[in-house]
Symmetry: C2
Subunit: 364 residues, 2 copies
């Protein structure tokens, strides 16, 4: 596409520099065990289905009306759940949209942005879209994020906690200190996977005006198909974000997704059981992988990053694919010899383990 792109007289010249994000494969073939894009194996709370069906049975024609422009009712439910005010909450069409609007509102036009050398690969795509200069910073040798490595001149910082690809989390105390010591940097913590680990930094938004926290309904809440993300910050930051959103798309979250997110948020029991099962499976799966010689990074997310001393990641990925199992490989990164595997149901993990065990014994 690039040749055509460069020549096209109707394109924004900046299009030539874009490197659009490439998501993991979405295969609609249920024969495949899909452990490549960190989806929740259990799906959303059963209340989601009930709520949507009830709405359609009773109020179908209300789909003719635009949804709430500011998702007020969902914002109130989220605020209540996290014990903050609803004007500290912003809701968008997936956390990817929330991220992009944040980049535009708070990173664009404000100097250098910093993020880890290994992280969610969507960040550089957004930065290029909005012409935001960025620098990356090195991880520690154990692959954890090293906040002392950040370019001191950067005006803003973003990292996922736990970090994407590695699954390693920083403690809330470490983040608290960093936010406190850097009052002139805006710091965004992308908590897409926080529910599977050391918890959220949400309490910090009442203490500091330079932090913004992003979460999603796609992972721990099992609703990737419905595209709802949200973020927390001071009222002033949220007001800025709303101004940008209302200049971009006034009604980003549809009526059914809003209803679904409300009912998912209210089902604590389902949520806790779901997290508990995934965390237990992660622990079991990691131990079993180590038993057959894999190195497994200590994950606080719903995935693990693994490598084997005598087997190439690329070969393993292809072998798993032949066995109808999808996992993710990041060949262009510093973990090019590692594989990222989503924690699925116990039976999915067992199937994957059995394929790997055969391969390992064949290799030895």
């Amino acid at each position: 596409m690039s040749t055509k792109k460069d020549k096209h007289k109707f394109f924004n010249p900046n299009l030539n520099t874009l490197e659009p994000y490439v998501p993991g494969k979405q295969i609609n073939d249920s024969e495949y065990v899909k452990l490549n894009t960190n989806e929740n194996p259990f799906g959303p709370s059963p209340r989601v289905k009930e709520t949507i069906i009830r709405f359609l049975e009773n109020s179908e024609t209300l789909l003719r009306l635009y949804p709430e422009p500011e998702s007020d009712s969902l914002r109130e439910v989220i605020a209540k759940k996290f014990a903050i005010e609803s004007d500290q909450v912003f809701v968008g069409n997936g956390s990817d949209e929330v991220l992009s609007l944040c980049f535009l509102a708070f990173f664009a036009g404000r100097g250098c942005l910093s993020f880890p050398e290994l992280t969610y690969s969507f960040y550089p795509s957004i930065a290029k879209l909005f012409k935001i200069p960025f620098s990356t910073f090195q991880l520690k040798k154990d692959f954890s994020i090293d906040l002392t490595n950040i370019n001191p001149d950067s005006k803003s910082v973003i990292f996922p906690n736990p970090n994407a690809i590695t699954g390693i989390a920083l403690s809330i105390d470490v983040i608290d200190r960093f936010v406190k010591e850097n009052p002139d940097k805006l710091i965004i913590i992308d908590e897409a996977y926080a529910d599977f680990g050391k918890g959220s930094c949400v309490s910090l938004i009442n203490n500091y005006s330079n932090i913004l926290i992003i979460q999603t309904f796609s992972k721990s809440r099992g609703m990737a198909g419905l595209r709802v993300g949200f973020c927390f910050g001071s009222k002033a930051l949220i007001d800025g974000l709303r101004a940008v959103k209302n200049s971009f798309n006034s009604y980003p979250v549809d009526t059914l997704a809003t209803l679904a997110a409300i009912s998912a948020t209210q089902d604590d029991l389902w949520f806790e059981n779901n997290i508990d099962t995934i965390v237990k499976t992660r622990s079991y799966f990691s131990q079993e992988l180590e038993k057959i010689g894999f190195r497994v990074l200590p994950s606080s997310a719903n995935f693990v990053l693994i490598t084997h001393p005598s087997l190439e990641a690329d070969t393993l990925k292809d072998h798993l694919f032949k066995n109808k199992i999808l996992v993710r490989h990041f060949p262009e990164t510093i973990v090019s010899n590692w594989l990222r595997i989503t924690i699925g149901k116990r039976k999915d993990c067992d199937m994957l383990l059995s394929v790997l065990k055969q391969k390992v014994s064949g290799a030895n």
Copy 2:
């Protein structure tokens, strides 16, 4: 908000210049007759409800998976319906998102954009967000769009057909000639209301590389609550748009909205009946309004713009609001003494007529 905004050290400096779009009121009080945001009074095809319920009953847990990143199945159905190729179709989260991504892909960084002095007021909001210089051009005396008035130096042009606020449409022949005579301008035709009038310019995309057509499921298809918009253009333009979308939000249309849009597109009978009813009601409503002294612009949309020689629009709007009827008034525009009224069900129009009749006889 502006004082805080101007001072905020974490904001993109461009935020100070934004004038976010302000949509019409969304009142969730069913006592009100809502004729202010051009929603379809009949809601979506009944197939939408059936399709979503069937999906939830059989495949609920599939909501755990991300939707198709490029909405392939919906694009194929739309392409088939309009007899074009699926790589000439782009789908987004409402036509507002499609508009914003088009502004970023094709208008930003390319000199002056032109649009009519009276039009969809979201255009200047998006232009300011992406720092796109724009100039507006005057309408004819009869309020129709005058393409001879466009600044010849402009690099791109956008207008709705039929035009928003007025409801007046240009013929496809006039647009065809304009696109042909201006091969160096990218021309976007916003066809949000085209189904209620003189039809679509979609056939032009096979003849010209400088035209893009935007449509929506919110108006004629009665699905404003589900946020699906789409556009047509050459494969090269659509490829550019996809690159921007994949740098902004990889999965903009959720699984249920996609299913809903597919089943709505396939229900021709419902669609044609619905349009026919609205067009007949518009004709009846316009005649009745003229009988009691209103001037009604010739509408090709699902709304009419009306004014009365002896009654102020502002007063009429307040009077209708007291009678639980919402209509739209645009006080800062050249039609500040006009009201825009959505064509509702016949009974809604009759209720409004009866309130206006009383007011008019009181005034005479």
